[in-house]
Every structure is written in structure tokens, then in C-alpha cells.
Symmetry: C2
DNA sequence: AAAATAGTGTCTATCAGACAATATTTT
DNA sequence: AAAATATTGTCTGATAGACACTATTTT
């Protein structure tokens, strides 16, 4: 079969919660097109490489996180004929949720990679159609917090209920009642399970530590205000 | 830029509800690979053609439905290196929901197109990775019925509450209480609006006709048993 | 009249949201 | 002691699900 010339890329919306805010990893483009503009990390799919493999490779290159335990899911594919001035490039977008990294961003492209608060990314500043991809990725994350235990993907292996609440508040941009949240989370079957210890890292009375449970869907779902 | 040889296709999961059952449009492949096997309709993306344009073109070719009002949404992209024996072909899958067609399937490829009950499609019978694509498409439809007014996409412009309930029952495979369903649907803001008339096409007491409302998300959502 | 479907009303257990009260830490 | 956070409990209004009952058609 003969194929039209076509490039296939995987781009990543890598989200984390730092300082109580939802942040996305952006890179400053060093080369044309869109030189000097912010862009989502990504790269071309290699021959014989699966799409998710490409995404995980790029994730590791940009963050140093190579664990299979990092949450990564496909969001959508963007293929408008004119979305890349270099020619026809179709991009498969992935959403990655990572905990607040103890180590700073590391890896080969690290020099140009920065965490940027999602609320402060402005529409015209991103290369290609990356603003649209970012918006779709963020919306996916917001929606999935409701009915999946995905919020735990932003947390370290052991976390407190209030840290988990901080994730919801940052992603949704809404304050939640600590008391109702606590009750809801601990009563939702298999959402979180007690890890045994306590911590005072959040100040005040020691909080119980939890780790994520086995649930894949939350019954009942968490509700946005 | 030079690109690796690569094909880009759009494949369609076209669902409808006929005779109270969820059905999918499949075609019998006339040529290799997988000659004689059932497959999802689809085709290659043309140069300068947007992905959704390809999907709508294929939809029109297979069903004769060219209206922009047909619900069509992207589901996921499949790109395992060995998924097509002809070479590297990446497929963007779309989900289309169509009403029970008054006219039989028509169009250029119609000769080989048939409605098949989803519950009776068996895993090994489909070409390529189409069983996986079908499963993902059906799961998407099932999930979206809960929190979106998507069920109306299976209905004609004017429908009764019990016809809408029939859609839910067919897609979810669960019987629903007609009385609670009626109350729930009519009380959910902007889900359906009265069209004015009534019909006795379902037998019994005349039922009010409705058409779809302006809601894009259902508050509260419909709940699966 | 009998059967079929449409639609309304009622009851109960559960849940979301508001918020009081108590517990245990650091400053 | 004061401030901060954690956790439990209580109250109220809304809702889901079960199901009795009434309404309007066809057979």
C-alpha cells in the first residue's frame, strides 16, 4: 500500500497539583515552528512503537518518571490538515497525572520544561492547537475526579484525607467542606483504605494516612458544587 | 520533514436500537486481509481531509445519513504496530448514534452492510482489532447515557418517554421502572420538552410526544441499576 | 370487559450539604 | 491559651426505588 506523507505524534498533558494549584508541564520551544512559544511536551511515534509507549517514553524524558504506576490515558486525536505548518501531522494526546515531584523536573529536555499554573496559561500563547488539547485534557481530569478514584494519582502512595481534598479543590477550583468530604470519601466503598500510620505534616491534629483502594469507579460519585 | 510510511484510517461504531435491541452496523469484508470476516465500516483519511470529515463521509456512504445532526464523536485511536498486516495503519475510531432507520441501509457499500445485535457479535469474528474498538464504543455509549441526553440521538425527532426508556433498556440491557423513569426524565432540567402532540403508536393510552431539550449534561444523572 | 400502556401519588431509606461539637497537635 | 487541622455527629431537604392507583386507549 502506498500512503500519503503523514507524521504521527504523541503529545502530553502532564498535570500535577503544587501549592494547592493545578499545574501543567510546558516546554519552551527552541526551534521553528513556533520557536520561543510554550508547547506541550511530545514527540513523534517511532516505527514499531505503540502509541502509549511513545507517550510513556516522552513522559520519562520530561519528568524522569518512568514508573508504570503513573496514570496515563489517551484523551483524543487531533488531525486538522493545517494544524502543523511543516505538513500533515496527526497528534494523539495523552493525559498524565503525577504527584507533586520531590525532585525538580529532570531529563534531557529539562532545561526548557516548567510547571505552569493551568489557570494562568493564556489561550494565544501556546504553539499549534495545544491550547485546545490542554483544555480537553483538563476537562477530562475534572470530569473523571467525579466518578473515578483518579484524584489519588496526584497523591504520593500514602496521603491524608485533607491532601486528597486539596487535589479536588485544585482541580475543580472550588472549596469543599472538609467534614462532608471526609465522610464521603471514607464511606465510598474501596476508594481509600487506612494505611495504619498518621502524620502531622499538614499541621494540627495528626491525620490518618491512607492509600488508594481497589475501586475503579466511585459509588456514589463525588459531586462538584 | 520525512515521515515513516503510515496509513491513517477512521473506523466507525455505528449504533442503533432496533426491535428493542442494541445493534451495530458491520460490513462483510470482500477483500484481503480478513476477507469474508465482519468488520466495522471505515476508510482512509484523504489528504487535506479532517478526521471527522472522513468519519462523516464514511457514515454517509454506509447509511445514507449525511445530516450534520447525526451524533458523531471520537472515541479513541488505535495504533499497535502490528494491528494491520498491510503495514502500519493507525485508526481513529468514531461513535455514531442513529435512529432506527425508516429506509434500509443504503449507499455504495450497502450490499455488504448489515445490522448485527451487539450482544451476539462474538469476539473472534471481527477483523483487525475491531472487537476492541466495538467494545470501547459500546462502553462509551453506555456511560454517556448516564450523564448526557445522548439517548435522544437514537430517537426520531419526536418521541415518547417510553420510547426513550426503550433506548436505555436496550443499551444498558436492564429493565427500568416505567413510572420512576417517567418522573426522572420529565423532572431533569431541559432533558426533554413537550412537543405538543400525542401518539398511540406504542399502544394503550396516548402518550405525549417530546423532543430533545437544550441540556448537554443531565443534572441529576440517570442511574444504572 | 379485558388488556395494554401512560402518568400521578405515596412511602421509605439514603444521601448531600450545612454546621455544631470534640480531639489532638503546634505555636 | 490560642490557632490549626482532624474527625464525629446531628439535622434537614432532596432523591431513588418500590409500588398503589388512576387515566385513556385498542381489542
Amino acid at each position: 500500500m502506498d500512503f500519503e506523507p503523514l507524521g504521527l505524534a504523541a503529545d502530553l498533558v502532564i498535570l500535577t497539583v503544587r501549592d494547592g494549584r493545578l499545574q501543567v508541564l510546558l516546554i519552551r520551544r527552541g526551534i521553528a515552528p513556533y520557536q520561543g512559544r510554550w508547547a506541550l511536551p511530545g514527540g513523534f511515534v517511532r516505527p514499531d512503537e505503540d502509541l502509549e509507549t511513545t507517550a510513556r517514553r516522552e513522559l520519562a524524558e520530561e519528568t524522569g518518571l518512568s514508573s508504570e504506576r503513573i496514570h496515563l490515558e489517551q484523551v483524543a486525536t487531533y488531525g486538522a490538515p493545517d494544524r502543523d505548518p511543516r505538513g500533515r501531522v496527526v497528534s494523539v494526546a495523552y493525559l498524565a497525572l503525577v504527584p507533586d515531584l520531590p525532585a525538580p523536573v529532570a531529563g534531557s529536555d529539562a532545561a526548557s520544561a516548567h510547571w505552569v499554573e493551568v489557570a494562568e496559561v493564556d489561550a494565544g500563547r501556546l504553539a499549534f492547537d495545544h491550547h485546545r488539547i490542554l483544555a480537553d485534557g483538563v476537562e477530562r481530569a475534572r470530569a473523571k475526579l467525579e466518578y473515578s478514584p483518579l484524584a489519588t494519582a496526584f497523591c504520593p502512595p500514602e496521603f491524608t484525607i485533607s491532601e486528597l481534598r486539596g487535589v479536588y479543590e485544585a482541580v475543580w477550583g472550588t472549596p469543599l467542606d472538609p467534614r462532608n468530604f471526609h465522610r464521603k470519601v471514607t464511606k465510598t466503598a474501596d476508594f481509600v483504605v487506612p494505611a495504619g500510620g498518621t502524620t502531622t505534616r499538614d499541621g494540627g491534629r495528626p491525620a490518618q494516612l491512607f492509600h488508594r483502594g481497589t475501586a475503579t469507579t466511585l459509588h456514589p460519585p463525588m459531586t462538584r458544587a
